[in-house]
């Protein structure tokens, strides 16, 4: 009796075991529904995320370039005449790539300075820096970290330590700047590194030097700065 009972049990269990088609079907259904949900959330949040990034960048530009009320994007690329003739051109496109920089203007539309971006390895991951540059006075006017993953509490002082950030305000940029041990600063082009975050501080200085050396030959002669186009980003609103 017990034996037959067990037999029928195993038999019924075997007949109940789902075939591969059912397994594949349930996986496919789950994957399909999950895909739809992921696509919808992506579409729903896409604009906000883009907006956030653009706003962050806009705020950073206005922060590193004082007294600037409007800005426009400049892209270093070929103009219509063809190859081998790269120059700075005003662009309105969204997004940002490595060949992009910004020009800031005051309320009368007069050119003030450039905001130059640079990327480079930090202590843990790429640091993305934006700094303002006054070509007329050869001064760095300020520095903002756009993106970094430095150690919380140590490396992140490159943007949290106001003493360090403040050193980049009105910093003469005649020759390359140099990071020195805190308190050892003796020359104009030297920066006091942060105690406990020497690598991150040196990385910031290196990135700025590299970006500066890359961009300064590209900048137009004084007086030939790109003029302000009609549609520009203002400080108060997004587009005007």
């Amino acid at each position: 009796m017990t034996n037959t009972n067990e037999n029928s049990k195993t038999h019924s269990a075997r007949s109940q075991e789902p075939g591969s088609s059912r397994l594949i079907f349930s996986m496919a259904i789950a994957g399909f529904i999950s895909g739809i949900i992921i696509i919808s959330i992506y579409i729903l949040t896409f604009d906000t995320i883009k907006e956030n990034k653009a706003r962050e960048l806009r705020e950073a530009v206005f922060k590193v370039l004082p007294n600037v009320s409007t800005m426009q994007k400049l892209h270093f690329s070929e103009d219509d005449s063809g190859a081998d003739n790269k120059k700075l051109m005003v662009v309105k496109a969204d997004g940002m790539d490595d060949e992009m920089m910004f020009a800031g203007y005051d309320q009368q539309g007069k050119f003030i300075g450039y905001a130059i971006q640079g990327k480079g390895p930090g202590f843990q991951d790429t640091i993305h820096v934006l700094f303002g540059y006054l070509s007329s006075r050869k001064n760095i006017t300020g520095m903002e970290i756009l993106d970094s993953r430095e150690t919380p509490g140590l490396g992140d002082k490159i943007f949290k330590d106001m003493d360090f950030v403040g050193e980049f305000i009105n910093l003469p940029m005649v020759k390359n700047i140099k990071a020195v041990k805190k308190g050892k600063k003796s020359k104009d082009n030297e920066i006091d590194a942060i105690t406990g975050a020497t690598i991150s501080s040196k990385a910031v200085v290196r990135i700025i030097n590299k970006a500066f050396n890359k961009w300064s030959p590209r900048l137009p002669q004084q007086g030939n700065e790109p003029v302000l186009a009609k549609t520009v980003v203002t400080k108060e609103s997004g587009e005007r």
């Binding site: 789902p18 349930s26 529904i33 992921i38 995320i49 509490g153």
Partner: protein
Amino acid sequence: MATDITAYEEMIKGLWRDNPVFVQVLGMCPMLAVTNSAINAVVMGLATFFVLVGSSFLVSSFKQWIPKQVRISLYIIIIATFVTVVDYSLLAMLPAIHKELGAFIPLIVANCMILGRQEAFASKHNVKYAVMDAVGMSGGFMIALFALGSVREILGVGAFFGVDLFGANFEPWVIMILPPGGFLTLGLLLLFFNWFTERRRQFLDKVAEAERVAVAGVDKNG
């Protein structure tokens, strides 16, 4: 009425008696990685809460249709979908905090506490119990994260939720916000938790013993 009491118990057990961190020691990866400040800990706790409750609800609702041969893959699909939703929502609503939490939001998928609850509980109980269990477990996880995050932020930065506590003369204990500080704090919290549980058990034993003696005494006299 009786079912209400057990559902309530399912929730309470996760908060303290079966706390996923202090008792089961699960989900250690986010536990150690993102608890360098109280706000990070709370956001991570909330994200885990959303994912766990959502997944438990779905797994429990569809448990009849989930073939047991592919159940783990299906659980992972469900969990990963919720995690993606959390990831994009945070990126849209709290970009600053998303930046701090970084890779650890997508890694909620691999939080063994969540998969563990699906396999051990949600797939075997009805929706009500599954959700209560998920609320309790993620609540307990959040309490643990918050405890660790507060301790580390207070000692390591001298602040709580970004508000400075001790003034300029406080020399922050930097190691607390670095990874070793996470291990140290977690170890000490586990020690405290176990000590407390042991003391409580001894106390209850003593009470039970006293009661037994009293009852025996009454019996003898009576």
